[in-house]
Amino acid sequence: MEFVVTSVQALGATLRDVLPIAAIIFGFQLLVLRRSIPNIKRILIGFVYVIVGMTLFLEGLEQALFPLGRLMAEQLTDPVFISGTADTIGTLLWSDYLWVYIFAAAIGFATTIAEPALIAVAIKAHQVSGGAIGVWGLRIAVAIGVAIGIAVGTFRIITGTPLEYYIIAGYVVVIIQTVFAPRLIIALAYDSGGVTTSTVTVPLVAALGLGLASTVPGRSPILDGFGLIAFASLFPIIAVMAYAQIGEWRQRRRTYIANGPEPVSRRRTDHDTD
């Protein structure tokens, strides 16, 4: 019985997400564009699949993974677990939280791999790039970015250093990379910052941040609990550009070994042509 109730709630949440979108799309299609939609039946079936899929997905997460993940975040950030005994609370150093960093990185990586929005963007990027960008290559690059981002974010909560220093430093890295990265990857890299943080990642990461901010002495959950999502949106941009830069560098090294040094002018054109 309870299962039915929660499923209906999950369906309601999904419908609330989809209905405004469907209303805008079909409204404009019928009233402004005034064209019949090709394959309308197939598209409607696709929408039904999306609604059913999101409902089952959210319901399953809520039943299986979220309770465990939240519990784990609480247990791992418990000072008693971290110090081994209850006596040394208050004298913990940032380096005592090793398992927290490892958990943060691992859960960030794993939830990003499962993030449906990222799967969507990876499929599209694979199609548009004619296969040059691999679906898994992009997803793993983004997941590594999120893993590093969340681990650094937990370090920030534990040490209590100001959020804006990290984010501004990250922006500087992004700007420098933008100058050197292949032009084709730049827009996609910027996009991958926004797609990482939706259905799967946010609830677990928020639980981790809240758990940490309420157990680390001197932190307030309401002020220090925020900011992890910002890390999870920034670091994938750096990781995706690095992924493209490493790919380009290896390509160049291979041609270098095969053909010897290429003229400087040719090397520049990689960046400059569309």
């Binding site: 805008i24 404009f28 899929g53």
Partner: protein, 244 residues
């Protein structure tokens, strides 16, 4: 009749592979690090099965429904040639999908609590509710303008990095002047606005537009709409914090 069944089983297997990492991480920490048994294993296994099925349906629906409609609309607008309607559509899509977003409603409520604690607004419920509503409207407006600006950029072929880097500089400058309590919320606001259903649609729209306009490269010009939708909310929330 066998081919669809085989295809379905294959995509089920893909979903299992997508979720394997989460299962491994949670099992490892539960059993090896925390050294505790898995509580109600039946519910966990049942839930995992639902997640696998759900992801399979979603990816199928993505390819059948969300991607094609995004491209159809992009083509339709490109052929109609009315810039105004396209811009109104872009704004409506960004604004309409964001203001109702459950994640944003939750964040706005938390932000109102932070603001009340920081003494920026009165601590009564009415003040908090109106603060949260104002915040949601500013984020909705921010995402609407982001998609609108992103569409203009695709049409004109402006390089995405000038706009994004300019936006970053704006965020950095505003950070110095905004009240301290709002900074964390503002930075997070960029991440929570783009939902799982909006992302594929907006991506398909951008790529579709860039493919139907001559001289635009779908890879260089088609992506980037999501990036704008993650950037402008930061600026608007910082601005909201400075004004109130």
């Amino acid at each position: 009749m066998r081919a669809p069944v085989v295809a379905f089983l294959k995509s089920l297997l893909d979903s299992v592979r997508d979720l394997a990492a989460i299962i491994v991480v949670i099992a490892f920490f539960q059993i090896v690090v925390l050294q505790q048994p898995l509580p109600n294993l039946g519910a966990v296994l049942g839930g995992t099965l639902l997640v696998v099925l759900g992801l399979t349906f979603f990816v199928r629906g993505l390819e059948m429904g969300l991607f094609p409609i995004g491209e159809t609309m992009a083509n339709g607008f490109a052929r109609k040639g009315s810039l105004w309607w396209l811009l109104i559509f872009a704004f409506a899509l960004g604004f309409g999908t964001t203001v109702a977003e459950p994640a944003l409603i939750a964040v706005a409520a938390e932000a109102a609590a932070v603001a009340a604690e920081g003494g920026m607004i009165a601590t009564d419920e009415a003040a908090k509710a109106s603060y949260a509503f104002g915040l949601r409207m500013s984020v909705g407006l921010a995402v609407g303008l982001a998609i609108l600006l992103g569409v203009i950029r695709i049409i004109r072929g402006w390089p995405v990095h000038y706009l994004i880097i300019g936006g970053y500089l704006g965020v950095v400058v505003m950070t110095f002047f905004a009240p301290r309590e709002i900074i964390g919320i503002a930075y997070d606001a960029g991440g929570v606005t783009t939902s799982t259903i909006t992302v594929p649609l907006v991506t398909a729209l951008g790529v579709g537009l860039a493919s139907s306009i001559r001289g635009r490269n779908p890879m260089i010009d088609g992506f980037g709409l999501i990036a704008f939708a993650s950037l402008t909310p930061m600026i608007f929330v910082l601005g909201y914090g400075m004004l109130i």
